[in-house]
């Protein structure tokens, strides 16, 4: 009787103590293997619980593989987002560099060409340029010998651009400049000049053109050929 009583007391004390100890060990394992990750802690707890029931190591391996795949997917998505962000930044940079300057009144070059105000201003500047060139030429006195030779040279050069004699209104030379007045072609287009500058390059390295548009649609081209460079001092 005394022995049975002793055994009952020991079992009543030792068994609960054993259960308590095993529970603490499990939770400690869960804390270590989880490293703070709630999913893994849950999974580990599940596995621990299962171990108490089934003990499957394969489930743990499968779950970890799933996690690894998710991490790879997430990393790829982050890389794609970074690339997209860079592309957007580059687009913004290019747009800012090619933006039309604020002072332009029209949005495109074509609109500027058709803008009456812009064209009127261009015509005004053309006219002022022409007046400066004309004044510079008229201020020169004539060197008879040189002007005759220069005139021959210029008339020969006009043929290089196949300009008909009928289109040549006049060729006048002074002491270091010549003035050539030409009508437009049959379509009222300005005289086409391409070969003449090279033909007279040695005598007249500097040429300026002034195209005057008449109210009747006709166009007159005046070429100023000069031995020296066109500067405000020589033009006046």
């Amino acid at each position: 009787m005394k022995l049975v009583g002793f055994l009952a007391i020991v079992s009543g004390l030792v068994l609960p103590l054993g259960v308590l100890i095993s529970q603490k060990v499990e939770s400690k394992q869960a804390a270590i293997t989880g490293s703070g990750d709630p999913v893994i802690i849950q999974e580990t707890a599940k596995i621990s619980n299962n171990r108490l029931t089934t003990g499957s190591q394969d489930d743990l391996g499968e779950n970890l593989q799933v996690l690894a795949k998710d991490v790879v997917k997430l990393r790829a998505e982050v890389m794609a987002l970074r690339t997209e962000l860079q592309v957007q930044k580059q687009r913004q940079f290019v747009m800012s560099k090619t933006a039309v300057p604020a002072r332009q009144e029209a949005k495109t070059v074509l609109e500027m060409h058709n803008n009456a105000k812009v064209l009127a201003e261009a015509d005004k500047q053309n006219k002022e340029q022409g007046e400066i060139l004309e004044t510079g030429f008229r201020h020169q006195t004539e060197n008879v010998k040189w002007s005759a030779q220069a005139k021959n040279l210029v008339q020969g050069a006009l043929s290089k651009d196949k300009i008909p004699l009928d289109n040549v209104i006049g060729v006048e030379c002074r002491s270091s400049m010549c003035r050539v007045e030409l009508t437009g072609d049959a379509n009222n287009q300005p005289a086409s000049i391409a070969e003449l500058p090279m033909a007279v390059a040695e005598e007249f390295p500097n040429i300026r053109a002034n195209h005057i548009k008449g109210s009747d649609g006709t166009v007159t081209t005046i070429l100023y050929l000069s031995k020296s460079e066109f500067t405000p001092s020589t033009q006046n």
Partner: protein, 158 residues
Amino acid sequence: MKMCQPLGFAFVTYSLLAALFSSLATASIHHGSVCNSLDQQNSKIVLKNSKGVQNIGNKAVKVICPLIADHLDATINPSDKSGGVLVDYRTSVPFSTSMSCTLYSYDYTGEFLGSASFTSGFNFYITLHGVPVGQWTNHSVVCTLQPLDRIIGIESSL
């Protein structure tokens, strides 16, 4: 003393050119191979390679070199505002006076606006300036290459 005079002249010339180009707008450099034969029949004797463009024939040829210019900051209409171009070249005979070039300026309708020429280039480069430059002007350089003459590049501040 006599030896110093050409050196002094070269120094002064270089200084003036440096001052001219340093005061101009943004510059671009065109490789000589952008040039093409002006006449179709001479295209076979105009050789283009990484060293530029060269006349490999036995007669003079003209080449035309297009220039790309950024005029966004220019005034709308061509005026006295002028740009500059420098043509780097080599002749078959050093210091020969055979190189000549003309710089052209046209507006967007194809109307001729002006030109500037330099003949008798003798010092491995030719400078051209004094043509009208506006927001809508286009430009090109036409040079006459004697046999074996080569254009290396064209520096443009138009």
